[in-house]
């Protein structure tokens, strides 16, 4: 064959491949059109839910529910967190920026500030079927592997080209029981989803696992605002003259005194000089 014939053959083969790919995509588009807009073209893990009597009149449904709020605020050495019963007391104490605490040998001078915590006020997330990640599901109940062991075994299996996989970049165990694997090449995810079922060794036995597309989310925007905690005050620059428990008592006594502007103290926690603390705040119910 002449060189031109070889070139022509290659072009014809390429066209056959392209036509096949085009037909695949056209079929996918047809399938997508048949699906009602609020469903997805692949099955997603089912979460068992129960009606407990929580109802609402009217048609306005909130589009999202926020829960498990947890804020961790680092406290340096030589500081303390005082939480009052009455927010008005806290306000008074905080307004008096400097407090002089009398103890036997001397007088302690400390600063008190309002405690402000950052909270997300607006969030924007875009969701998309990931090109690089897949969801592995169908794990048998009672699988005796730790999270790390399970992720390792999955990465080993799906990291091999001979198993249809490729180099794994990210891995995450979802609390609902699936595992998300992210690959360095997007062709791997596509191929694995097309195959769909794999028998994967997990320890002494192998199990049939399902691989399906993964809907991933990306933060587009997150706005935060600092809000004060009305009942709390941050005590700073506590001099290093007393031991932990003694210091705690002295401070608590001081802040309880109405004559010093204080009031009923719900709790007071000290971080002695040279140490570090992390104050944890969670949402109050109701």
């Amino acid at each position: 064959m002449s060189v031109y014939d070889v070139a022509l053959c290659a072009l014809q083969e390429e066209q056959t491949r392209l036509m096949r790919r085009l037909q695949e995509l056209q079929q996918q588009r047809r399938e997508l059109r048949d699906i009602p807009p609020d469903q997805v073209p692949f099955s997603v893990p089912a979460l068992p839910l129960v009606f407990r009597g929580h109802t609402q009149q009217g048609k306005e449904v909130p589009t999202c529910l926020v829960s498990k709020l947890r804020i961790c605020y680092p406290l340096p050495g030589g500081s303390a967190l005082v939480n009052f019963d009455d927010p008005k007391v806290a306000e008074r104490v905080v307004q008096q920026k400097e407090h002089k605490i009398d103890i036997e040998e001397c007088r302690l001078r400390v600063q008190v500030e309002a405690l402000e915590l950052p909270m997300v006020t607006t969030i924007q997330v875009s969701t998309q079927i990931s090109r690089w990640s897949v969801l592995v599901s169908g794990f048998p109940a009672g699988l005796r592997l730790s999270e790390e062991e399970l992720l390792d075994k999955l990465e080993i299996f799906f990291g091999k080209i001979r198993n249809g996989g490729g180099e794994v970049e990210t891995r995450e165990l979802l609390l609902q029981g699936g595992v998300v694997l992210g690959f360095t090449k997007d062709t791997v995810a596509q191929h694995l989803c097309q195959v769909g079922q794999f028998t994967v060794p997990l320890g002494r036995q192998s199990f049939p696992l399902r691989v399906s597309p993964y809907l991933s989310g990306e933060i587009q925007k997150a706005e935060i605002m600092f809000r004060p905690v009305p009942q709390s005050g941050l005590v700073l620059n506590i001099p290093d003259v007393l031991d932990g428990p003694e210091l705690q008592d002295i401070l608590e006594i001081h802040f309880q005194k109405p004559s010093r502007g204080g009031g009923e103290v719900e709790s007071l926690r000290v971080v002695p000089p040279g140490q570090r603390g992390l104050a944890v705040f969670t949402a109050t119910s109701g």
Binding site: Y4, D5, L11, E14, Q15, L18, R21, L25, D38, V40, V44, P45, L47, P48, L49, V50, F51, G53, H54, T55, Q57, V61, C64, L65, V66, S67, L69, R70, I71, C72, Y73, P74, P76, P118, M119, T121, T122, I123, V125, Q128, I129, E172, G178, L215, S216, E218, I219, A222, I224, V229, S232, S267, R269, L278, A279, V280, F281, T282, A283, T284
Partner: protein
Amino acid sequence: MAHKRRREKRVLDPWSNEEVTKNELRKRLTDRFTKENIQLKEEIQRLEAELQEATRNSQIKEDIPETKVKFTSLENPETDSQFLNISCSFQVSSPIFYELQKGQALITFEREEVAQNVIRMGKHHIHIEDVDVEVVAKPVPLNSGVRFQVHEEVSKVKINVSEIPDALPEDQMRDKLELSFSKSRNGGGEVLCVQYHRPSHSAVVTFMEAGVADKILKKKDYPLYINENCYNVIVSPYTETHLKQFQMFSGISERTVLLTGMEDLQMMDEEILQDLVNIHFQREKNGGGEVEVVKCALDQPCIAYFEE
């Protein structure tokens, strides 16, 4: 002597019905295939983009309602990162609900087997006010939703600086930023490093101590000194936000059953009907068992939330 030109073999080009040489035909075919393949590739790219767009679900845009927080405990920071950042985390999930229509009810059983049995039996006859009402039991169709965790970290040692003027070349400006942010009389402190990005007029300043960033951020701007001039640059918190545990799920009701067929009972009191339905389905002889909750919608529809 004139050479006799070898007569080149003529072939028929089926597309144009012309007689051309073999070479000419090859050239035409090559051109044609090349052009078609380019068009096919473009069409494929367009379709791939369309499918990608089509499977992009609606953007989730939420205003998070203000939540009151309370001190819970004092812990030890395990890593440097925990000590150098204020971290805030929470879970966002789509509410899963069923819109209960007039004449419908939801009943939650304590045991899944009982719920499945009631559905399997299909029709149930409940004696209500001397009338036998035929009620049909079905599974509850639930929507799908997403759930994810947001993790936000606000640095206690870094700040964002913006609206930095173009007055100096990069290296010099970086030095001026470091000097200005070190001045304690303006609220500054010892600087660990400055990352300056001239094209976006912004920088990230990292301090040695945690308290400095807080002090500077009490105001929205900060004085930057360049020779004799003083410019006001904008300061803001340095934050990083991550999503974790993003998953889409579909709700499935295993213990709650949908009952339909009570449209004619609209004049009844909802609570009385709920009690009657409850009593009926508590009885094993009716195919039921322990009942947790019953809700009937008679004169108006209502939204019923499903939880874990």
